[in-house]
Amino acid sequence: MTPAVPGSGNATQNWGAREVTVAFGATTALDAVSLAAVPGQVAAVVGGDGAGKTTLLRTLVGRIRPQSGRVEAPATADCGFMPTGASGVWQDLTVAENLAFVAAAYHLAGPAYDQRRAHLLRTAGLDHAEDRLAGALSGGMRQKLAFCLAILHEPKLLVLDEPSTGVDPVSRVDLWRLISRAAADGTAVVMATTYLDEAERASTCLVLDQGHALAMGAPADILARTPGTVTTGDRPAGRPELSWRRGHATRSWHPGPPGPGEQAVAPDMEDAVIAFTFADRTPETTA
């Protein structure tokens, strides 16, 4: 069998999407997008609302059939999927009942399951909330419960749709610890996020904009491949529509090298994604 994704090794089974195109009527939601899901790693899919993140994730877990391209994923029973928002939990059930329902669906029982359940509840900080209704939990606790439900059956591929959106920074750290632990235990994790600092923590990062890939690779590689030059100053350098404010400074993007007297900066992920967006949306600037 050939590897599912370019660059994947033969030693470990990688999953992912290759050149996947999805259209809803006349709208192209995904345009030849590829993403590798590697065991032991977290792949982050970043972009704003409508970029195509959810479509890609749902395609990965087999809930959407692409018009073209290929998806390689383990059997459904070996996939874990956490949908966006509060839809990953049953609001009218308690924390314990939510877990029992998922355990029954996957025929999970016995001492090993009891141990796993207790460990997950403890690391998620839900061990004192077993009898609370899921609908009465805070946003952060509910997302952590949804995560526990998605990973309860020890999936090989774990797909998380914006697990941290609307979650406060303190709960996000807990959630990131749970995600990191899953990856460290050998799970292939794919997560969508709107937070660039989370993308920077992932092993690989796919930046989506309007259904196509702006950039993909290890965060450090994406930064290194930032198109053109980002400069900083106290006013826009060059065309004002290619400048933006960062606190008291103004960043400017140049398709080529900086002009005389302009101070180039090493871009962070935020600068890089904006530069990729400019290069993509204004092709004449890079001509």
Binding site: A51, S138, R172, V173, A183, A184, D197, A202, T277
Partner: protein, 292 residues
């Protein structure tokens, strides 16, 4: 700074709901032309504090002044507010929403940019989140408010749109408008002139990002066996997180980390680095006493 120069001020404000203290003795203010960031976990009291500042809720103790007087409908007309849910009526058209805001808050109709003008007769629920956000801002800014209150203004926005939104916020501040903004987005903290960090109802830290982080450090663990190191430190009950393949622990002595790794038979280089704002927030939250 005289009292008249302060746009909004909370003086030892406490707000209780039954025996639950949502806001606990908070003192803060916003001056013209400054951007003040309000940070904190969910349930820290940010939204309740904003409701008290807007005059939507009365403080149980302490006092609030907006433009030198008790918040009411007349002070409400001098500020712009964009709530987290944007505060638009989904089934009304863009024009109807504008008419409603004019009738309810006295906001004059904004000049719509071409993107919004093209959809002015469509229900707001159908125009997409990006345009909805633009509309909420246009309505909030139309009457040139002296104070702008923004609750999570950029959640779900792509990086370029977020940069454009912050351009608009900075333009307002440059023109003398005071801004109070809540955010869960740590990178946005650097857009603010000042930060106020809330935890369990109290304002626990204030100042610049650097002021708030202070001397707090984190340990970074360098090892090719990062997965094993992560699992070992997690099993030891330490507050471990992962950045790429770098293992980090906020506010944990290096000796403790090194010992836990030795116990698990893992060789690694442990060194101290400054904590991030996010790490500082978790440290403060862990240390905060339970709410009264």
């Amino acid at each position: 700074m005289t009292a008249a120069d302060v746009l909004i001020r909370a003086d030892r404000v406490t707000k209780r709901f039954g025996d639950f203290t949502a806001v606990d003795t908070v003192t803060m203010h916003v001056e013209p032309g400054e951007i003040v960031g309000l940070l904190g976990a969910n349930g820290a009291g940010k939204t309740t504090l904003i409701r008290v500042l807007l005059g939507l809720a009365l403080p149980t103790e302490g006092s609030v002044a907006a433009f030198g007087r008790t918040p009411d409908r007349t002070t409400r007309a001098r500020l712009g507010y964009v709530p987290q849910g944007l505060g638009l009526w989904q089934t009304l058209t863009v024009d109807e929403n504008i008419t409603f805001a004019a009738a309810a808050f006295g906001n004059p109709p904004p000049d719509l940019d071409p993107g919004l003008a093209a959809v002015r007769h469509r229900p707001v629920g159908e125009i997409g989140l990006g345009l909805q956000r633009q509309l909420a801002f246009a309505i909030a800014l139309a009457h040139h408010p002296e104070l702008l209150v923004l609750d999570e203004p950029t959640s779900g926005v792509d990086p370029l749109a977020r940069a454009r939104l912050w351009d608009a916020v900075h333009d307002q501040a440059d023109a003398g408008t005071g801004i109070l903004v809540t955010t869960h987005y740590m990178q946005e903290a650097q857009q603010c002139d000042r930060l106020i960090l809330m935890s369990r109802g109290k304002a626990v830290a204030a100042g610049t990002e650097k002021d708030i982080i202070g001397d707090t450090t984190a340990c970074e663990v360098d090892t090719p066996h990062w997965a094993g190191a992560f699992a070992a430190l997690d099993n030891a009950g330490l507050p471990v997180t992962l950045t790429g393949t770098r293992v980090r622990l906020a506010d944990t002595p290096p000796d403790t980390v090194a010992q836990a790794l030795r116990d698990a038979g893992i060789t690694a280089d442990v060194h101290q680095v400054p904590a991030t704002l996010e790490e500082e927030m978790t440290v403060i939250d862990r240390a905060a006493p339970a709410r009264a």
